[in-house]
């Protein structure tokens, strides 16, 4: 049924949030590793 509201779309929501955590977590890890390698 057409309601004018986008139905579902959970895969986009999950992808967006998962990607945010992955990128920010990955960058945090890269900072940690670079810091450890220099010290």
């Amino acid at each position: 049924m057409m309601t004018g509201t986008i139905q579902g779309g959970y895969e986009f929501l999950v992808a967006g949030y998962a990607l945010t955590w992955f990128v920010l977590g990955g960058y945090a890890l890269s900072l940690y590793r670079r810091y450890r390698s220099i010290r």
């Binding site: 986009f12 990607l19 920010l24 960058y27 670079r34």
Partner: protein
């Protein structure tokens, strides 16, 4: 003394992570779906805070570069480089999140809309800034070359911000607590502050790496 400083730093990191997770939970599960976009609209709570904080990072680059030009103190150059790197990460994330949000709402992953195009240009300008820095070995020369660039390329930030008003764009006008539904304001603010804390921590730790590198170079 060093041990207690390390403990305080770990505590601050843990608090920032806990606040970030709480804000994400609130955005995902406690905020209402949009009347038109449904649950997909909740991507706003990551997309918009990433964009705002990327702007803040680039403003730090601008101010630091400007002060370096006057004072010639390496502190400002290190701060500019650190903020630029974090800003690039957040701008890249903003672009990808916008693409993921655009597919179900606009029907396309990408379009040459003014906001999208100017944001992509912004991303590549700062990638260029970081690339230029990586090519110059001497740190004083690197700082002298990077500072004017850090000032000039900031000009694109207000263009990106105003692009949705200056041109007819597919992208909606700026999302802010005054333009979104009152039920969504808390989630937007929580996530904006959560990513602001992440931004500050990232810049701080990236700065420590730059400082250690400079000390190592001086020791050689």
């Amino acid at each position: 003394m060093q041990n207690s400083k390390s403990k305080i730093q770990s505590f601050i990191v843990l608090m920032a992570v806990a606040f970030f997770l709480f804000a994400q939970y609130w955005g995902l599960f406690k905020s209402p779906p949009d009347q038109l976009m449904g649950h997909v609209q909740k991507l706003m709570y990551v997309h918009v805070p990433c964009a705002w904080n990327a702007f803040i990072a680039f403003f730090v680059v601008f101010i630091s570069s400007f002060i370096y030009l006057i004072r010639k103190n390496p502190f400002w150059d290190r701060l500019a480089a650190s903020a630029a790197e974090v800003g690039v990460v957040l701008t890249g994330l903003t672009l990808i999140l916008g693409s993921i949000w655009g597919r179900p709402t606009w029907g396309v992953w990408w379009t040459w809309d003014a906001r999208l195009t100017t944001t992509a240009i912004l991303f590549f300008l700062y990638v260029g800034y970081l690339t230029m820095r990586s090519f110059v070995g001497d740190k004083d020369r690197r700082a002298r070359l990077a500072a004017p660039l850090g000032v000039i390329i900031f000009l694109n930030v207000p263009i990106v911000y105003m692009s949705v008003r200056w041109w007819r764009t597919l992208h909606q006008v700026q999302s802010s607590p005054s333009t979104v539904d009152p039920n969504m304001v808390l989630s937007l603010r929580l996530n904006a502050f959560a990513i602001l804390f992440v931004l500050i921590l990232f810049i701080y730790h990236r700065y420590q790496i730059a400082l250690l590198k400079d000390k190592q170079e001086e020791a050689l």
